[in-house]
Amino acid sequence: MRRALKYIGGGLLGAGLSTLVIGGNAFAEDVDPVTTLSQSTNLLWVVIGAILVIFMQAGFALVETGFTQKKNAAHVMTSNFAIFGLGFVAFLFVGFPLAFGAFDTSAYFGAGGAAMDTEPLLGSGDWAFLYKGWDHLSGAATPALLGFFLYMVAFMDTVATIPTGSMAERWKWNSFVVWGLFAGALYYPLFAAWTWGGGWLASMGRSLDLGNGYVDFAGSGVVHAVGGVAALAGAIVLGPRIGKYGADGKPRAIPGHNLPMALTGCFILLFGWFGFNAASTFAASDIQFATVATNTAIAGAFGAVTAMFYITKRTGKPDPSMQVNGMLAGLVAVTAPCAFISPWAAAVIGLVAAIIVIEAVFFIEKKGIDDPVGAIAVHGIGGTFGVLALGLFANGQYGAGWNLTVEADGETPRAITGLFYGETGQFIAQLIGAVVIWTVILGVAFAFFTIQNKLTKGGIRVTEQMEIEGVDAHEMGVPAYQD
């Protein structure tokens, strides 16, 4: 019952009549036609959202390939393609149960959305760490359960594909394959279970009286920051590309081989992002999806424009690659707060995110970490800023009761309110989430790549000759382009 209500404060208390009907229905005996129709429309919205997020894989592939060198284009592109299936398979069998085994969507989709298994696999009550359940593989799988799975698997794949950018042009194919399976089976599910799955971080509102607990509407933290720290760990373990740093130790530019390709990818990401954020209401009957979509667009637009002016001021020219990073910075940062903030705040978040991310790109490069596409800055730093931004800008108008939190009176649902609106608890909850990502999760990623590097004969990096001649010739057996 409590789980049935988890993560639906918005739907339940913030979205007007029809959703109340839904909320009601999840426990009602007889289901009326309106409720059924509302639930099927909700499920449709989530499936459409999933389709859009899955298409983002193409966006990542094009951005990363466009920003890297011609001699490695087939390798980068294909790794972004293969990751979809690799992460998917691992998530289907292992990751999904661990993260969402106890997730109940019946409030959105009706009875079919019941949790697979309400008992955690690890932990209990407000301190759950992992879950279980395999109904989704059998004939017993309901459309609601499968639709929810599809949406969640798409988010996982985003995490899995982020390191392919920072580790591009020098990563062994076989080592990459292992990462893909690990990301889907364990890496992503960990933090996801603790937050969206209903675990201990989501429960901090009740257990530690910290606002509504860790809140992350569509994943600035759960998806982007988690992917970003993996990108960081991987880039460190691999080391910089040959020629990235001059004899003087100064970073040298290695321009991408196809900017139109990269910009096309960014357009696709913007397109898919609406599914990523807006469909996270899990309900078409929760019209907040419109606010979410618009806040998303505002942050992306402000991120792109800010980056254009800022980089021109900083280096003299409107570097297209930085405009791409700027838009993505805005989109990544607004992903957590998008449902809880006012439009003006979305603009501010996009503006600030672009500047932070551009400076982060410079800083990371100066530190000797080579990230060909800026994945660490965009997803890691931008995502972390987004997690905190929610704790600052949340205006208390949406998501009351989120994560089953109530005020002292035990009656009034607790509103999601940020520092700028006078609440400190929520910000602390967000801060804790961010710290966990940059310690525990980064640690897991770093350990994985380090151990894999040790265990793999010759390490996870290609040989110097392969790197110089291009990994396509050596690992793909066919060049990306033929004259």
Partner: protein, 112 residues
């Protein structure tokens, strides 16, 4: 016979070709090259890091011509290719021992 090799600015190719045609040149071979010289390159910034572009796009012309017309061809070519700005390029002449037209096996000037 002589082989005249010229390195010129890309946007001058059509003018040069037309001028040479007019001057009676019936054939030539061109290719894309990149040049390094007095013109020097320039430094650009990409994602905050600098990189120098040392080589500038140029076009290379190769014409095998009869000794008799070398001077005239050189004259025509330099006139058509010149802008007076640094980086206009070079022309050099080397001796050709033999020339064969593949289609007819004709040799020497007849093969031009």
């Amino acid at each position: 016979m002589k082989l005249i090799t010229a390195i010129i600015k890309p946007f001058k190719v059509d003018d040069v070709k037309d001028a040479l045609k007019a001057a009676g040149v019936v054939g030539m071979t061109v290719s894309e090259v990149r040049g390094f010289g007095r013109q020097g390159g320039h430094t650009e910034t990409y994602r905050g890091a600098e990189y120098t572009v040392d080589f500038i796009p140029k076009v290379k012309l190769e014409l095998v011509v009869d000794d008799a017309v070398v001077d005239q061809v050189l004259e025509t070519l330099t006139t058509a290719a010149g802008t007076g700005k640094i980086g206009d390029g070079k022309v050099w002449v080397t001796s050709v021992d033999r020339l064969v037209r593949i289609r007819t096996r004709e040799e020497g000037p007849a093969a031009i």
